[in-house]
């Protein structure tokens, strides 16, 4: 089987948990990992007579996401009930939005690995509440239900079928994740379920324009599986069509252990959700002033920041991309530069030492920006060698403190006093008469050896540039 001659058409429906303290329609905590059924109240338990009250912060975050995606935010949107029976859905319906969503018609700009810079259409973005969690593997022959998650605020972002490969879908998703993290509206952790994605997939002959029957791929629960799951499903569909069969409209569940997809039992998916406007909530009205305020309050978004970094700090696009991959790193880098560090040197330090250290320490950027700026300056001014500076960085990261004081305490400050350096040089020349003689006979590569001996004599403290200059002068004068 071959994929050449085929085109894949993918649209993604992404559910994102909003970073709020309390749930969408009640005051219960959204904290992850609490003992089962401890973060619940009459509202999120769906007890008789309880009523929902919308969480203003969740609405604000949803509006910001919509604006960052260039969507039209509607002055009036309507909550709707999505009705279905499931034990972890305590009201027998989910409060969502249907005919009149919060926002429509946006674009996500991203870099496709195949097609370069492009935009994927965003059809709609709406607000809804999460269901609880059914746990099937905890008790034999029984299902346990944890309703801590019931009522947690979500947005659903529906893309147009604009993606043309599994790799492109992955790039879209990573860019979306980066954007939402920048906005501070979600931690986008697929493993914790705070970002979930379902994919609509179909295939067609290259050059065709019609949309063929699609399937919905679910249960993609890690970024690592997005491309794999979609590739498996694409290949399955191509095989079906090439062997003369037809793709059925159905839901496919991805199994990451086997790297396979299997159809969901049709019984589970034959839902008629009987949507209708939620009578317990008035339409959601947003004033133009509120929306404008959120718009003007948006942070600089990743692509804009990347372009600005490249221009303002004369960085390569690759470096700018690394430094703007997360808002925290970008802000850290700029603080280092604002604290006086030279832009390219600061970039090098952040991309190597700072990011490596963060990776090993829960993504914490442990060296304060002014301290890193000082380290950069100490290297530039000749006070620290690069190697010594790395040691100072590690020490400051682990224990804090002023870099110069730390360097002095560790005895790493370079000696730039010509008299002192000259004394070391004289000692070395005296102790290595043979090598000096060979050098004078034309073996100039021994300069490296002699310089090394000077550094050793100084216990690494001699300013290497000064040491080399003095060494060269003495060897020349002694000739």
């Amino acid at each position: 089987m071959t994929t050449s001659g085929w085109e894949t058409v993918i649209g993604l429906e992404t559910h994102v948990q909003l970073r709020t303290k309390s749930k969408m329609f009640c005051g219960c905590s959204t904290a992850f990992g609490a003992p089962p059924n401890t973060q619940v109240c009459p509202v999120c338990l769906g007890l008789p007579g309880a009523l929902p009250v919308p969480n203003g912060e969740a609405i604000r975050l949803a509006v910001r996401a919509a604006l960052a995606l260039g969507c039209t935010v509607h002055p009036k949107s309507v909550f709707a009930r999505k009705n279905y029976f499931y034990p972890d859905l305590p009201k027998g319906y989910q409060i969502s939005q249907h005919e009149q969503p919060l926002a429509t018609s946006g674009t996500l700009s991203f870099i496709s690995p195949e097609r370069g810079a492009m935009g994927a259409g965003i059809i709609r973005l709406h607000v809804e509440e999460d269901a609880g969690k059914s746990i099937h593997d905890r008790f034999p022959k029984a299902t346990a239900v944890d309703l801590n998650r019931s009522g947690v605020p979500l947005i659903e972002i529906v893309s147009a079928p604009d993606l043309r490969s599994p790799a492109e879908a992955r790039a879209y998703l990573l860019t979306l994740k980066q954007l939402l993290e920048y906005l501070g509206i979600s931690d986008c952790d697929m493993e914790k379920g705070s970002l979930r994605v379902d994919a609509n997939v179909s295939v067609r002959r290259a050059g065709a324009t019609e949309l063929n029957t699609r399937t919905e791929v679910k249960n993609i629960n890690s970024f690592a599986f997005v491309e794999k799951a979609l590739t498996v499903e694409r290949d399955r569909q191509i095989a079906v069509v090439e062997s003369g069969g037809a793709v059925l409209q159905q839901t496919m569940l991805y199994d990451s252990k086997e790297n396979t997809v299997r159809p969901q039992r049709t019984k589970e998916e034959s839902h008629d959700y009987r949507y209708f406007p939620e009578p317990d909530l008035p339409p959601l009205a947003l004033t133009p002033e509120f929306v404008a305020e959120q718009q003007s309050d948006l942070p600089e978004l990743p692509s804009a920041k990347r372009d600005r970094f490249a221009a303002q700090y004369a960085l390569s696009r690759e470096h700018a991309a690394v430094l703007t991959a997360s808002r925290a790193v970008a802000e850290y880098y700029e603080s280092v530069v604002h604290a006086g560090a030279e832009a390219q040197a600061a970039a090098n330090w952040v991309m190597t030492e700072a990011l490596a250290d963060a990776r090993d320490h829960q993504e914490q950027l442990r060296v304060p920006p002014p301290a890193l700026a000082q380290i950069v300056a100490l290297v530039k001014g000749g006070t620290l060698s690069h190697q010594a500076a790395k040691r100072v960085f590690a020490e400051v990261a682990a224990k804090g403190g002023d870099p110069r004081t730390v360097a002095e305490a560790l005895g790493l400050v370079q000696v730039a006093d010509t008299t002192v350096v000259a004394a070391w040089v004289s000692d070395v020349l005296g102790a290595h008469a043979t090598e000096v003689a060979r050098y004078k006979n034309g073996e100039t590569k021994l300069m490296g050896f002699l310089l090394g001996q000077v550094m050793r004599a100084s216990k690494g403290k001699a300013d290497p540039k000064l040491a080399q200059r003095v060494l060269e002068e003495k060897l020349a004068s002694a000739r």
Binding site: P48, G49, A50, L51, V53, P54, R274, P282
Partner: protein
């Protein structure tokens, strides 16, 4: 303490009505505790108020007249109940009602029918029949009921008491077990306009727990007006059809004459979409009910029926056996009208018609009419069993009351006479959030109408 005992004794004496679901022993115990805790400074201090069984209370179970919630104890109480208690009132038990407030006769309770206080062969109306019967029997000065399509006014009319349904959004629905959420309001029964109005005043006002409750101060109690000079009262011709019961017509004509004598200007008006109100109601209310009642599945609370092998059969047995026939009928109708392919033909059209019905009222009020006067029901209390086999006939007993729910307007029923000993109610429909004007007119009418005389 003696107050609590006297209240319990009075309620025990009318046990034969089957109006109260709370056992006498539990009631006595709770009333004693409540009397000890009640605030002596509250405006309703010591006043016993019974509460319909679909309103959540901490003191008593809340079964909604249904098997599916048999023995259910709410861990929280309705805002209206909390406000009553804060005003010093005593919650005098839970009253029998049609299951989940679906019915017009209180024959659809899983706990047996309620007897009319004046004629044991007849129904007290419904769905708040227990509350109406208790107040009608004289055992209590006031009780809470709930309305979705006339469930306070119709039984008030049948039992010869005052019943008020406030504007949608006047009283918090928090803790009122939902039937048709866009129509539901807690209402009050009183022996007199004053008793009903002062209870309404206490339970009204903003509640941050109910997004559909208006951000307004509690209703200010109006005083009894000296005359109705300046009031323009409209008589919608659609509410006086040729087939109207002659005694009801006579009682209404007498009431109109009395309103006029007190200075009100009377004007005939038209609400042209009235004929569509009942069908519109019987699409919207069941649609919302089908969703609101989905939560009664036996998973989290309430009894489970049969040892279900899997979750699907648990749902089927709990809902099949836990709900009565009228509730099942409405869930089926509601599910149908919301289904893909039928939504536009039924639910969407019903919403459009609802807007037209509301517009009818606005048109009349915009032309200088302050209030409308109509009969509350087409007939006095009917006999038990008379309409049980014919749901449509039962539904039509709400024909004059459902419009106020669809339009969200305040409306009330007050006794205006009797026929063969059975009470007849007259209805006042007011403008949104102008309950005070409606209550003023009711005071004026109450003062002069021979409420217990034959019409």
């Amino acid at each position: 303490m003696s107050d609590a005992k006297a209240i319990a004794d009075r309620l025990t004496k009318v046990r034969r009505l089957n109006a109260l679901l709370t056992p006498s022993k539990d009631l006595r115990k709770s009333l004693n505790a409540q009397a000890a805790a009640a605030r002596p400074t509250g405006v309703l201090y010591g006043m016993p108020v019974a509460v319909k069984d679909n309103i959540c209370t901490l003191e008593f179970t809340t079964s909604c007249g249904s098997r599916v919630l048999e023995g259910y104890r709410s861990p929280y109480e309705a805002t209206a109940v909390a406000k009553l208690k804060a005003a010093g009132a005593l919650i005098a038990g839970k009253t029998n009602c049609d299951e989940f407030a679906m019915g017009s006769s209180t024959e659809h309770s899983a706990y047996g029918r309620v007897i009319h206080p004046l004629d044991k062969a007849r129904v007290p109306g419904g769905s708040s029949g227990g509350s109406a019967a208790l107040v009608g029997s004289g055992a209590l000065p006031a009780a809470l009921g709930s309305e979705t399509g006339g469930s306070v006014r119709q039984p008030a009319s049948f039992c010869g008491v005052v019943g008020i349904k406030p504007t949608y959004g006047r009283v918090s629905r928090y803790g009122l077990v939902a039937f048709g959420s866009s129509l539901d309001q807690i209402g009050v029964f009183g022996r007199s306009v004053h008793d009903a109005a002062r209870v309404l005043s206490v339970i009204s006002g903003r509640d941050p727990r109910d997004s559909t409750c208006e951000d307004r101060d509690p209703l200010r109690l109006p005083t009894v007006p000296e005359s109705l000079q300046g009031f323009v009262i409209g008589l919608p011709r659609e509410y006086f059809p040729p087939e109207l019961d002659p005694a009801v017509r006579r009682a209404c004509e007498r009431a109109v004459r009395l309103l006029k004598e007190q200075g009100a200007a009377i004007r005939e008006v038209s609400l042209p979409h009235t004929a569509y109100a009942v069908p519109t109601y019987y699409v919207i209310a069941p649609a919302e009910a089908s969703s609101n009642l989905a939560r009664y599945d036996g998973v989290r609370y309430g009894p489970r029926f049969n040892g279900a092998a899997d979750v699907g059969s648990l749902y089927r047995s709990t809902r099949g056996q836990g709900f009565g026939s009228e509730v099942r009928r409405r869930i089926l109708v509601g599910t149908y009208v919301l289904s893909a392919g039928y939504y536009d033909a039924y639910y969407r059209r019903a919403q459009q018609m609802r807007a037209l019905i509301a517009q009818d009222f606005r048109n009349v009020f915009d032309r200088g009419v302050d209030l409308l006067f109509t009969p509350t029901t087409p007939t006095p209390a009917f006999k038990a069993g008379e309409k049980l086999g014919d749901p449509i006939a039962m539904y039509l007993s709400d024909i004059f009351t459902v419009t106020a729910n669809l339009a969200g307007l305040p409306a009330m029923s007050i006794p205006i006479g009797r026929v063969k000993g059975l009470p007849i109610g007259g209805q006042l429909i007011g403008q949104a959030f102008l309950e005070d004007e409606m209550i003023e007119a009711a005071y004026a009418l109450e003062r002069v109408v021979p409420a217990t005389d034959e019409a």
